[in-house]
Amino acid sequence: MKFLYSDEPIIACSTCNHANAALSVLRISGFSDLAPFLPFFTLTGPIEPRRVYYTKLKSGDEFLDDICLTYFAAPKSYNGENILELSLHGNTLNTERILNFFIKFTGCRLAAPGEFTYRALKNKKLTLSQVEGLDLFLNANSGYALDQGLSLLSGNLHLIYVELYDLFLKHKSALELSIDFIDDVGEETAKNYFHSSLLDFQKKFETLHRRVLPLSENLLQPEIVLAGLPNSGKSSFFNHLLREDRAIVSSIAGTTRDYLAETLVIEGVKYKLIDTAGIREASDVIEAEGIKRTQQKMNNSFYSILLINPFEMRDEFHSLAELSFDQIYFTHSDLPNFSEARAEVVKLYPQFGPMGAINLSHPATTIERDLFSSINNKYLFFTKDKPILLERHKYLILQVQQHLESYVNLSAYECDVAILSHELNTLASCLSELLGIVSPDQILNSIFSNFCIGK
């Protein structure tokens, strides 16, 4: 509760170094007056906004640090409040000490995570979309997510929503025009405007709708899933892909113990590599259940790889054969009679072959090179149309699509404009969520800026 409504001054370390570094930046926001801070600096003149000052930071006679200071006066600051930005030496102990110093002597409190930005939203410095963009930007797992975060932040995507919304308002006003102002405008003009404005909206919306892919949620944290029956070589292959000399990152915290997951970086994109081996081993369930779980994991995956040991023909192949994979490898290619065994499997399950072969003891580097480029190509393919990553936006766009479709169908035969308008309102409420709320005043405004109404 305190968080939402408080406007007391807050302080936080914006660089959040958990290790020693050359610099760390503290931000203090929401104070009404600079004066209480001045005794801590050795500056002589007044502090002007948006200028960098080099000064000493002291507590009484005690010297604390050499710092650079910038003052951003409200409302011309990141969040619309007075902000003081201090660059300190970035030793973690130093940062901690100075942070506590300000909390003790100036009545600031430690900011909650996101509180600076929350105030920016509250003061209308950022829109909700921009805040979401900032979140995406700061936590991006790939260059693409970084770009989309930036696009939301700089308002590009927001501008597309605004354009779409304007077209919607035009159509809505065309409908209202035909009710409230038909004497001024005339039936034919109203009808033409109704149809042309609907078409314009549909066209614009279609380009946005195309950016909502069923897969795009996995693009935020794309997963590569290794599937296969026990003894097919999943774990060896998993370890091979994560060889020390390639970007191994620490184990992902918080994943359940049902499967093993590690981070794998390919062409600047962070993937989660998942070995479904764990599924069966960790939980003592029957094989069918294991396969079901594999299937679930695969449904959410960005890229799936099936490993087959051709020497262990088993009934479960049958259920695996129903799934589709991005890549299939036959393992144990170093064993004698490998080709015959593989041919045997492919004869029974033509959908599995002919596929690459892997010698698990000495996997060839070409395999991973090809695999990585296949993964990267898929990633590039799916990001080509700039899919929307944010779940809230995707959800809303799909809702709009649904309502638009039924509205267009209805408008083909329904002559009761009040019913049409009623249907349009349900569409409006989703659409306006991408932006803000549609009020009757906005619709009337749109009418008046385009039409000539009067006595």
């Binding site: 509760m1 305190k2 968080f3 939402l4 409504y5 909650a112 995570p113 996101g114 930005t117 929350y118 939203l121 509250k122 909700l128 805040v131 979401e132 979140d135 209202e176 035909s178 009710i179 409230d180 102002f181 038909i182 004497d183 001024d184 005339g186 949620e217 944010l390 779940e391 809230r392 959800y395 809303l396 035969y413 329904e414 002559c415 009761d416 404009v417 009040a418 019913i419 308008s421 009623h422 409420s429 989703c430 969520e433 009757p440 619709i443 009337l444 009418i447 008046f448 000539c452 109404i453 009067g454 006595k455």
Partner: protein, 616 residues
């Protein structure tokens, strides 16, 4: 000193309604109005009703108001607007004989024994010891409650070209500014402006070149106690003329002579009521505009050309009027002009239209920054009824915006500062499918009955409501078998429009291809039942929209039920489907129910929808 319970300053559409309803409570009422102006006069367009406004007139009529009755008596052309666009947006508009309208208003009001009409100019109003002292040019009156319905007269100033004069309208004085009347009331720092077109000599128009719009004899008149298609005056036609390129060129070439465009007028006009100058300069590509030639009265020799209001100099007005086809020889009887006037800040008013800082003082009509006779009358009624109810210490009358256009208007006015004159549109309502003309009585009955009056209209309404409930029940309870000949009759063209199963009358009425009024009439006829057209219409249309109205109600109900639903805020905070900011707020407040979640400031409906969708 004469003493009244309620004094109404102004005798226009707001003042007349206010006096008429207050008098129904047997209070002692006075209207003090400018000398030389008839009650309920129509200084601008000679019509009552229109889209959204027709609904207001019927709401007023159901409340026991006067406007519908007067419009019926003076009606010389009746039309249903939006006839082909569905019942919800159909509205009645009546061209009135403005002389007859005002005469009838005078006749009705002066016949009411407890209303006194005083024709004097008010100079000052003092508030002292719980009473108001109203100082006119010749005497002082005392009142417990005062309703200000002063229209455009506060500091009124008229403009025709460079000619300026002081006045509330043509040929009339203006009243002092509000700050002179009441030292304590703030007027807005700005003024509103409205305009009126030149009036043409009706014998100088070539009607053969214009499109005729005759009166529709089937339109239901306004007053519920009048026989539906009764006409009390002779019926005449309106005509449609059009501007053309040379009309607009004349106006464009005289820009510097227009008070609105050369800086002489500073008041703000309504965008929906633009002068012909506005049209010329704001829409430079458009030259053809509709001009409706409306009769002003059976005995009057003038017509009102709707669509060309102007404050240009007289010679320019004549020039552009005569550039139109059919108006080549038209003579102007009265030149168009613009009027500027003070308005009050309606956010200082309560929903009863009582001033929030000065108890017992009410404001209604154009002084509140609205335009239109119907809007004025609606407010006049609300102010008059509430002044009377407060005087009698009864519950106030507050109409919900979900049940009436009057409610929409009052809430819009009192909740927002307007930057242009306010007019009602159906688009202002969120509940247009429900607030229709046909069901005005059903919507308004609960409010009228709270007055505890027993007039003729109250008896009519009680009988109507009881018959309405019976007929609604009949529709729900009566089943029609698939083998009934009626079902064959009602089946439309094609497979989808075939009625092949047993269904209730209500269900039949909802079928998209059927006209519910004709169908219900036929069913009642088939069953040998005789029921009034008014009732059939109300029930048939209500049933037609039932599904839509119920759906929005059920969405609302569903949400209400969901409020009690328990939720785990920790899972919400970990969800991928909720925005970063919402998660933060949820984490802070730790809501335990959906209702609590909803109350968190800044939780977006989208987030609620995601959570709600999962819960269901």
């Amino acid at each position: 000193m004469k003493t009244f319970d309620i004094v109404i300053v102004g005798g226009g559409h707001a003042g007349v309604e206010a006096a008429h309803i207050a008098a129904q409570f047997d209070l002692k009422v006075a209207i003090i109005t400018m000398p030389g102006i008839g009650l309920g006069s129509a200084p601008c367009n000679p019509s009552v009703g229109g889209v959204g406004k027709g609904q207001v007139v019927r709401e007023l009529d159901a409340l026991g108001g006067l406007m519908g009755k007067l419009a019926d008596y003076a009606g010389i052309q009746f039309r249903t607007l939006n006839d082909s666009k569905g019942f919800a947006v159909q509205s009645t508009r009546v061209q009135i004989d403005k002389e007859r309208y005002s005469e009838k208003a005078e006749e009705v009001i002066t016949a009411i024994p407890n209303i006194e009409v005083i024709r004097e100019k008010v100079l000052e109003i003092q508030d002292s010891a719980g009473s108001f002292f109203i100082q006119s040019e010749s005497s002082t009156y005392k009142a417990a409650k005062v309703i200000m319905t002063v229209g455009t007269f506060l500091n009124g100033k008229l403009h025709t070209g460079a000619d300026q004069s002081v006045g509330g309208r043509i040929g009339c004085e203006s009243s002092p500014g509000l700050q002179n009347l009441f030292a304590t009331i703030k007027t807005r720092p700005y003024r509103f402006k409205t305009g009126t077109p030149p009036r043409l000599d009706k014998s100088t128009i070539d009607y053969s070149k214009l499109e005729e719009q005759p009166s529709d004899s089937s339109v239901r008149n306004f007053h519920c106690l009048h026989s539906p298609t009764d006409r009390f005056s002779a019926q005449v036609s309106c005509y449609l003329a059009r501007t053309n390129a040379s009309t607009m060129e004349i106006i464009r070439s005289n820009k510097e002579k227009s008070p609105m465009f050369n800086g002489q007028i500073k008041g703000i006009g309504a965008r929906y009521c633009p002068s012909i100058e506005d049209k010329a300069f704001r829409y430079p590509d458009k030259n053809v505009h509709h001009v409706f030639i409306e009769p002003e009265g059976l005995k009057l020799d003038t017509v009102y050309p709707s669509g060309i209001s102007s404050s240009l100099p007289a010679d320019v007005q004549k020039h552009y009027v005569q550039s139109m086809e059919g108006l080549e020889k038209a003579e102007i009887k009265v030149y168009g002009y613009a009027v500027e006037y003070d308005v009050i800040d309606t956010t200082d008013l309560k929903l009863t239209l009582e001033h929030s800082q000065i108890p017992n003082l009410y404001f209604a009509g154009q002084v509140n920054g609205t335009s239109g006779y119907e809007e004025a009358a609606g407010q006049g009624f609300i102010a008059g009824a509430n002044a009377a109810l407060a005087f009698l210490q009864m519950e106030p009358l507050i109409l919900s915006r979900h049940e009436s256009y009057i409610g929409v208007m009052i809430e819009d006015l009192t909740s927002n500062t307007r930057d242009e004159p306010y007019r009602l549109f159906t688009a202002r309502s969120e509940n247009r499918l429900f607030i229709r003309e046909d069901n005005s009585l059903v919507r308004i009955y609960p409010y009228r009955s709270q007055f505890l009056l027993n007039k003729e209209i109250d008896q009519y309404q009680r009988a109507f409501m009881s018959a309405y409930n019976d007929l609604m029940e009949f529709c729900d309870g009566t089943m029609i078998s698939e083998t009934s000949p009626l079902m064959t009759e009602f089946s439309g063209i094609g497979e989808l429009q075939r009625l092949t199963r047993r269904m209730s009358v209500s269900e039949v009425l909802r079928q998209a291809w059927l006209n519910p009024i004709d169908v219900l009439k036929r069913i009642l006829d088939f069953n040998g039942l005789v029921i009034s057209d008014d009732l059939i219409r109300t029930v048939a249309i209500s049933k037609k929209y039932d599904g839509y109205i119920k759906r929005s109600e059920s969405q609302y109900e569903k949400l209400k039920k969901m409020d009690g639903m328990r939720l785990n805020w920790e899972t919400l905070v970990n969800s991928n489907n909720i925005s970063f900011e919402c998660k933060q707020r949820i984490a802070r407040i730790k809501p335990e129910t959906f209702g609590q979640l909803k109350l968190i400031e800044g939780i977006r409906p989208a987030t609620l929808a995601v959570i709600a969708a999962k819960a269901l």
